[in-house]
């Protein structure tokens, strides 16, 4: 029952939000929904509930890690929203809180689905739930962003569905008792999956889920969407939506690995991953808009996740850990940049220069985010990137590791140049916007502490969950 509550509570809350009148009531409602969800996640983490609906809805270590990550990030978004909505007009108008909660419900469905079709439905719903929030300014630019987002995502999601059907076809020769498209049964009878259909399924699911993650070359919607979306929606997309899509990719990777298709899928994952890193580095260097910069940074980190999955071994552990780190860091960065945009009164790149000079707390948090996102010690991403690099060396992919290290340096320069300008650059003469707000500082501060903690030590239960999740991906803990 708890498992269903994880999906139904935010879904019902989303419906309830549309009935509430006035933003003054909807903001506490959002906070209440987020915190209830977080408490439910804690409850299922302590006592794992039994699967429901013939095992279609279940909780395993990998699902739990994604669920907890999204839930924690969402709680931070809800806290930030309290401060944000005091100052900015509500993105998406009346639907704002409802759409956010609907996203949480859909993301929970993705995390708990052990049935590929159900997982697909959840991913589709996450895409739709966030679309109205991108189109919040009702001008030409946000219109273009939401159009690109919808067209590219919907094509990706359609191809992913075809991949799901291929997977069902691959399973057609299995024992009659096997439940169709259920992850456990696909893995249990993996040796009876038809290789050609399985590989076709993997390619389509990689393209479909990769579009949602933003792997190059399917990333083209990302800079426009992140650039136009309000900061807190950007945080949810870069940290939450991508984690859900990563889970989908991880699940099909687990099935293909169990079926012995590893030699086929690994070069694909490594190829898309390295291409994403190259594209991200190339565009980061020339980018001036901070939010678009974060989008390319997201492309980079999605590439890292794909590389981690592709190399296997400790890389799988690194990829799952990196997914958590990425979600926390992207939340931190988008919140801090959102504060800068509010401070400057506009998101225009020129006006953001020096915007955080008079807001030292946000400036400090943005700097913390910069060092964390570029994989500097002692922050979490350093450990997870180190695990992925270590796995590459261990597997003998010296060239890929060397290229990645070089790209890290390029990416650091690209990010640092622009972010330092926002924090320390010459202040622009634009009209000053609004000042700091405790809610808008608390959310990024908590995420900064989380990222720092993950870089210093990994708690026992988390380590066990990560090791188990990596195990299902055909890898292991260091």
């Amino acid at each position: 029952m708890l498992l269903l509550a994880l999906i139904l509570v935010p879904a019902v809350a989303a419906l309830g939000a549309s009935a509430l009148r006035g933003p003054a009531r909807r903001t506490p409602w959002l906070l209440l929904g987020a915190m209830t969800h977080l408490a439910l996640v804690a409850a299922v983490a302590i006592t794992p509930p039994r699967p429901v609906f013939h095992g279609w809805i279940a909780l395993d270590a990998l699902g739990l890690v994604v669920l907890a990550t999204v839930s924690a990030l969402f709680a931070a978004v809800a806290v930030y929203a309290v401060g944000y909505l005091r100052r900015a007009h509500s993105p998406g108008g009346r639907a704002f809180v409802g759409c956010l909660l609907a996203f949480l419900a859909a993301a929970s469905l993705v995390a708990l689905s052990h049935h590929f079709a159900l997982l697909w439905v959840g991913l589709e719903a996450t895409t739709l739930a966030l679309a109205p929030l991108i189109f919040h300014k009702h001008d030409r630019r946000s219109l273009e962003a939401v159009w690109k987002y919808l067209v590219i995502s919907s094509v990706g999601i359609a191809l992913a569905l075809l991949g799901v059907f291929f997977l069902a076809t691959a399973q057609a020769g299995g024992p009659p008792g096997a439940r169709p498209l259920v992850v456990e049964d696909l893995i249990a009878y993996a040796d009876r999956l038809h290789p050609a259909w399985l590989q076709a399924a993997f390619v389509f699911l990689l393209i479909g889920f990769g579009t949602k993650m933003g792997l190059a070359p399917m990333h083209t919607w990302k800079p426009d969407t992140y650039g136009e979306a309000p900061s807190l929606v950007g945080a949810l997309m870069a940290g939450g939506l991508t984690s859900c899509a990563f889970l989908g990719l991880a699940r099909v990777t687990a099935v293909a690995t169990a079926a012995g298709s590893g030699p086929f899928i690994r070069p694909l994952l490594l190829g898309f991953g390295v291409l994403s890193l190259v594209v991200a580095a190339a565009f980061l260097i020339v980018q001036t808009d901070v939010k678009r910069l974060l989008a390319y940074s997201s492309v980079e980190h999605m590439g890292l996740l794909a590389v981690g999955l592709g190399v296997g071994g400790v890389g799988a552990y690194g990829a799952v850990l990196h997914m958590i780190n990425n979600a926390m860091v992207k939340g931190l960065l988008f919140f801090a940049v959102g504060n800068a945009v509010l401070r400057a009164g506009t998101g225009a790149p020129a006006a953001l220069s020096g915007a955080l000079r008079r807001a030292p707390a946000s400036g400090f948090l943005l700097l913390v985010g910069l060092f964390a996102v570029t994989g500097s010690p002692p922050f979490g991403p350093f450990l997870s990137e180190f695990a992925i690099l270590g796995a590459l060396f261990h597997a003998g992919h010296y060239w890929i590791a060397a290229i990645m290290l070089a790209l890290f340096a390029v990416i650091f320069v690209g990010l640092a140049a622009r972010i330092l300008e926002v924090v320390h650059g010459p202040p622009s003469p634009s009209a000053p916007g609004v000042g700091e707000d405790p809610w808008r500082l608390a959310a990024p501060a908590v995420l900064a502490i989380a990222v720092l903690t993950l870089g210093v030590f990994i708690p026992g239960p988390l380590f066990r969950a990560l090791a188990e999740a990596a195990g299902t991906l055909g890898g292991g803990a260091p």
Binding site: R140, W147, A168, T169, A196, P223, E228, R292
Partner: protein
């Protein structure tokens, strides 16, 4: 009944070509509506002893793909007063040639893949061909409404492939597809409407302010 199914599948491919080869937006929508009707008849032809499940699928498909969505699209073009596709990025004769190549490729690929059991032998190549034609139309046309038609054809191809699993995989898959088509086009329709109000045009190639 397999002869009927074969005929229906051929007609499905033909309707994709109709949509691909016309410059008139309304003819394009008529073609996709006809395709929806054919898709609704297919489950009945493929599984003559299907029972309530198959009938439900058939009725639902006809309702959504042949009635609701085409009407919605027609409403959108009436609101925005578009009649012709303006200079597509790939000309019509060339489009048809590419379409023929796509169909040939689909049949070539399918002959290499082992067919799922209980599936009609033409179902898989027809599905792949429809997916490719839809994707091609989506990427080469500039009018938002025609792109939506392309997306619908793409979705129809996915649906065709799903028909191989009607008896083995539960109902949920079909519901997911129909819901998806409905919602995707619905929301796209709203966006199209906004594009119209924003620039008095449905040409999504105007949308190019954001680039690197």
């Amino acid at each position: 009944m397999t002869r009927v199914a074969e005929l229906l599948l051929l007609l499905v491919i033909l309707t994709s070509f109709l949509a691909l080869g016309t410059a008139r937006v309304s003819a394009c929508i008529r073609a996709v509506a006809l395709q929806g009707l054919l898709l609704g008849l297919l489950p009945l032809a493929l599984y003559p002893a299907g029972g309530a499940h198959i009938w439900g699928l058939a009725v639902g498909t006809v309702l959504v793909k042949a009635v609701v969505l085409p009407r919605f699209l027609n409403w959108a073009i009436r609101e925005a007063a578009v009649r012709r596709e303006v200079e597509p990025r790939v000309g019509y004769p060339m489009s048809l040639l590419v379409g023929v190549a796509a169909v040939a490729a689909a049949f070539a690929i399918s002959s290499r893949l082992p067919l799922p059991e209980q599936a009609h032998e033409m179902l898989v190549p027809a599905a792949l061909a429809t997916v490719m034609l839809g994707l091609f139309m989506l990427t080469t046309r500039s009018k938002a409404v025609v792109q939506v038609v392309g997306y619908l054809i793409l979705e129809n191809g996915v649906y065709l492939f799903g028909l191989t699993h009607v008896e083995r995989v539960p109902f949920l898959v079909e519901v997911g597809v129909l819901l998806d088509v409905f919602v995707a086009v619905f929301i796209m329709g709203i966006v199209v409407f906004h594009i119209n109000r924003e620039f008095d045009s449905l040409d999504s190639s105007h949308l190019s302010a954001l680039s690197d």
